[in-house]
Amino acid sequence: MEKILQVKDLELSFHTFGGEVKAIRGVNFDLYKGETLAIVGESGSGKSVTTKSIMRLLPEATSEFKSGEILFGGRDLTKLSDKAMQKIRGKDISMIFQDPMTSLNPTMPVGRQITEPILKHQKVSKDEAKKVAIDLLRLVGMPKPELRMKQYPHQFSGGQRQRIVIAIALACNPQILIADEPTTALDVTIQAQILELMKDLQKKIDTSIIFITHDLGVVANVADRVAVMYGGKIVEIGTVDEIFYNPQHPYTWGLLSSMPSMDAEDAKLYAIPGTPPDLLDPPKGDAFALRSEYAMKIDMEQPPPFFKVSDTHMAATWLLHPDAPEVEPPVMVIERMKKFPGSRYYEGGAN
């Protein structure tokens, strides 16, 4: 499959009054054409920062690329000029934001907000742009698009506004669409509608999506591949089945265990103990070690490298080292692994 975006050894820091916050500490991933890659992780794990750094939307004054590269179309985005970046934003790479209530300009009719990137990036007349915008609104399921073009954001509901934001993002048929928790601020029924819409649109326009979320239910619904982030690093990456049914990293185990399940009646919901690491002074070894009951001595001293689980599946945990003792994952995870051919707990065609 064709790689459309490559993030290589990306390191990024924020300069704050307290010191240097190492928000991204060596992130590697590839994005393939037409796939949906979900990035999951708790708040502060660096998932939003990673994608915002791809778009170069972080405040220039306080953020700094320390090393690594972001390769897109043969160019390293970390080194492009502002002008060159403006030509990529909204055209080749576009973004959907978390809160539709605040991400539209309240004093500009939505029609103009949709035609803006079209007029900016394509050589079309105002009337043509308007036509495209109306088609886009129809595409995202907005009734009476001609009429609604002239209306202002406050005349739309939250779900409708997110549809408009999606229309704006799709205006120039981007190769990459970054969705930064696009459903978090919406209620559950609207969430489902927006997810359906996004899946539908992806089929129609064949774009690659990076989907940031902390909702594993959403991940299972939309993603082809999943990257789990923790403490500014990717700790495990694989296909959605591999992550959900054959997870290897203790943090992924924790995440999956803390997901409410339909099967486990009246069981107490699991919570990962402790707090996320302080990235002003990140831990020397595995960032998750302090919260992990599976941590070994080496976890405190040396960061684990990536160990290959399969061609598509990698995890950064010392537990996969040949010399590591075999440990038993949490019960809920074993239950999941039983369904996955190739895992050590596989029970054959049980389901």
Binding site: M55, L57, D82, K83, Q86, K87, I88, R89, G90, K91, S94, M95, F97, D99, T102, S103, L104, N105, P106, T107, M108, E116, P117, K120, H121, Y152, H154, Q155, V165, I168, A169
Partner: protein, 311 residues
């Protein structure tokens, strides 16, 4: 919208009636008499003059006569300041210079204020920002009469660029008083726009505009400016007041034959009908400004436009 404005006009009318009533009785409480050399006149002569201006009648009758005249748009005649001239004519003839310096001051102040504020916000925490802040603080803290005198001294006397005072050289005469009046609106607008721009530039829709590929200037002018303007509209009213009260002082200092200068004198000589007339004129002006500000809100902010229509 029409209904809303209609309602506002009725309120305006009530407000004006109340202002007229209060001013009328307050003025009557003032010591002294409009008849200049009252003590030199014999009681008979005095009675003749008082009868001529209706000052011999009991207070309530005077009040109702005045209010009735007001309803018909009759502001009465000047008692001593302009000796029998119609008050409306006096105000109209005096309006030109006041309107000119007031308008120039307001436009200059608001325009420069917005410019300073925008630049300060876009270059936050640089020397540009600090300079603009200092200018704003000076503009707010130095009273207009001090500033006016300084302008007179430097630009009038020392460098001889503009006339020091009087209204004899047309536009040139209006420059210094306009600048003196512009300082307060300038400072206010600069502070408001700066604060608001900084907040707006940090909002989600600005990030989205960036994500669309908009350039820095497009973001500042197409997206941020209009949103940053909304709170400024709120202070336009108070700013108009400051121009008015400022003009009372500034016109005096620059000896400009405007309404302010004439108003101050009329109070000194107890010219009842001029005081009343000018007060009413200022009141109408101010209330109209407040109404215009409320309508402007709707023009700038679509969210307000619609809810205004429903009421």
């Amino acid at each position: 919208m029409a209904r809303y404005i209609g309602k506002r006009l009725i309120y305006m009318f009530i407000t004006l009636a109340l202002i007229a009533t209060f001013t009328f009785f307050l003025m009557k409480v003032l010591p002294g008499s409009p008849i200049a050399s009252a003590d030199k006149l014999s009681p008979e002569q005095r009675a003749v003059v008082e009868a001529r201006y209706g000052l011999d009648q009991p207070l309530p009758v005077q009040y109702f006569n005045y209010m009735f005249g007001l309803l018909q748009g009759d502001l009465g005649i000047s008692i001593n300041q302009f000796k029998g001239a119609d008050v409306t004519d006096v105000i109209l003839s005096r309006m030109g210079p006041s309107a000119q310096i007031g308008f120039q001051g307001m436009v200059l102040g608001t325009f420069l204020g917005i410019l300073f504020g925008m630049v300060a916000a876009l270059r936050q925490n640089t020397w540009v920002d600090y300079t603009s802040t200092i200018v704003a603080i000076i503009g707010i803290s130095i009273p207009s009469f001090v500033f006016a005198s300084l302008l007179q001294y430097w630009f009038g006397l020392k460098w001889d660029l503009f006339p020091v005072a009087l209204w004899k050289d047309g536009f040139m005469s209006s420059v210094l008083p306009s600048i003196a009046l512009a300082m307060f609106p300038l400072a206010t607008a600069a502070r408001f726009i700066r604060t608001e721009m900084i907040e707006v530039l940090g909002s989600d829709y600005i990030t989205l505009a960036k994500a669309k590929g908009a350039s820095g200037s497009e973001i500042a002018f197409k997206h941020a400016f209009r949103n940053a303007l909304i709170p400024l509209v709120t202070v336009l009213g108070p700013m108009a007041v400051s121009i008015l009260t400022g003009s009372l002082v500034v016109e005096q200092i620059f000896a400009i034959p405007g309404i302010g200068e004439q108003f101050v004198k009329s109070i000194m000589v107890n010219d009842f009908s001029i005081i009343m007339g000018t007060t009413m004129f200022f009141s109408v002006f101010l209330i109209a400004i407040i109404l215009i500000v409320d309508i402007l809100y709707g023009v700038i902010d679509p969210r307000i436009r619609l809810s205004g229509g429903k009421n």
